[in-house]
């Protein structure tokens, strides 16, 4: 898996107990993780605590991270998501339908505070694709919970996700191609 070479050095230092490496990783990834945590828990005070807890776990569990299995961010994302969902299980009255399920009804997720608004490429996706990604990635729902929220069969929901990922890949690919073309044109211009 493609892991940022800069991350590899920081992770090695982190494994050797270098706290400054953790703070550099914090500088790089905290905002992305905070975006996920805040959208799941919808409480800024709690999100701050959970972000700190996430980085404490990263510090404590770094020896379990295997870079051959994926990016550091993916590993950190899973920690942040599970930490947040576990905290919500403890703090909110729940009707749990599956191991990661935390919300008792749809009404709670219908509210849309400012930080819930999605940015970037996701905004360019079709609404149902955007919604599917938002539910599983930024709100912590499982596929089984999310398809019920969207009131579509599980198979259809999985198709939404696959199509969304495909579109994202294509759009990022186009952007990357556009970026390379501009770089090349600038290079030729000189």
């Amino acid at each position: 898996m493609a892991v940022d070479p800069q991350d590899i050095g920081l992770i090695d230092r982190l494994r050797n107990g270098d706290k400054s490496a953790l703070y550099l990783l914090y500088d790089k990834y905290s905002s992305a993780l905070y975006g996920v945590i805040l959208r799941i828990c919808r409480d800024e005070d709690q999100a701050k605590d959970l972000l700190q807890e996430t980085f404490v776990k990263i510090w404590q569990k770094i020896s379990t991270y295997d870079q051959s299995k994926g990016r550091f961010y993916t590993w950190a994302y899973r920690i942040a998501k599970h930490t947040t969902l576990n905290a919500l299980r403890k703090s909110k009255p729940l009707i749990q339908t599956e191991d990661l399920s935390v919300y008792s009804n749809i009404a709670s997720e219908e509210e849309s505070p400012d930080y819930a608004v999605l940015n970037g490429l996701l905004k360019k996706l079709e609404p149902h694709h955007q919604r599917a990604i938002q539910l599983v990635y930024f709100q912590g729902y499982t596929h089984r919970e999310a398809h019920e929220l969207m009131k579509v069969p599980l198979g259809t929901f999985k198709s939404y996700i696959r199509q969304a990922i495909k579109q994202i890949r294509e759009k990022y690919g186009q952007n990357a191609l556009l970026f390379l073309t501009i770089i090349e044109a600038l290079g030729n211009g000189q």
């Binding site: 898996m1 706290k19 905070y34 975006g35 999100a47 994926g70 490429l121 599983v136």
Partner: protein
Amino acid sequence: MDSEKIISEGLLEQYLLGELEEQQISLVEAALKKDAGLRATYAEMEADFERIAFENAIEPPDAVKKSLKFYLEEIDSRKDKAVKDLKSRDRGFQNGRLLVAASLAAIFALSSFWIYNRWQNAEQLLQLQEEQITDLQDRLVKIEERIEVSDERYRKINNLNVTPLVLVGNAISPESKAVAYINHRTKEVVVNGQGLSPLSSGEAYQMWADVEGEMINMGLVSVNEEFIDMSYIEGAESLNITIEPSGGSEHPTVERLISSVSL
């Protein structure tokens, strides 16, 4: 499970999102290890999701990083303290163990010393008691001997066949007095000489039997003795005491006859 099925069932996305259970994780990871194409797809998906996350990032307040730093420093200082406490406690524990061992050794040594002393005292006491018993046995033997002697003497004088005769001193020794007990049946003569006057050194009392005018030696009479066995002389007509040179004489010194009694 083949790669197509993993993709069609959406397991790759769920793997990325951390939704799968252990068994499914193992299957996906095994497929990723085997299939370079699947691996490339997953790498793209990871990169895309990471990019989405950064596009939707929200800057956390600075206080979170400060709090994180403070928290980790606090944990470190607690660990250091805990290690120090543990070492200290370990040292304390070692010292405690040594103290207990030393105490036990001291108790053992003291109790052994006490037991040894008691044993020695008992030995000495036993030895003393044995000596006392031996002494008592000796004394008992002597008492028995004395009793035997006394019985014998008593028997000799307290007998119907015994004739007691008092020998009173004459003018030469008017203070002297002796008693002779004569048993003609057993042919025994016993004399109590304690009543005789003391003599100068080199002199002794000697008793004689007069048999048809001849004085026959019966033996020396000691002043200090109560019962003195004398020789019985057959046919004696009288008993006589003379003062003789120490050790006695073969013939009586009649000039120094101090007492005489007829039988």
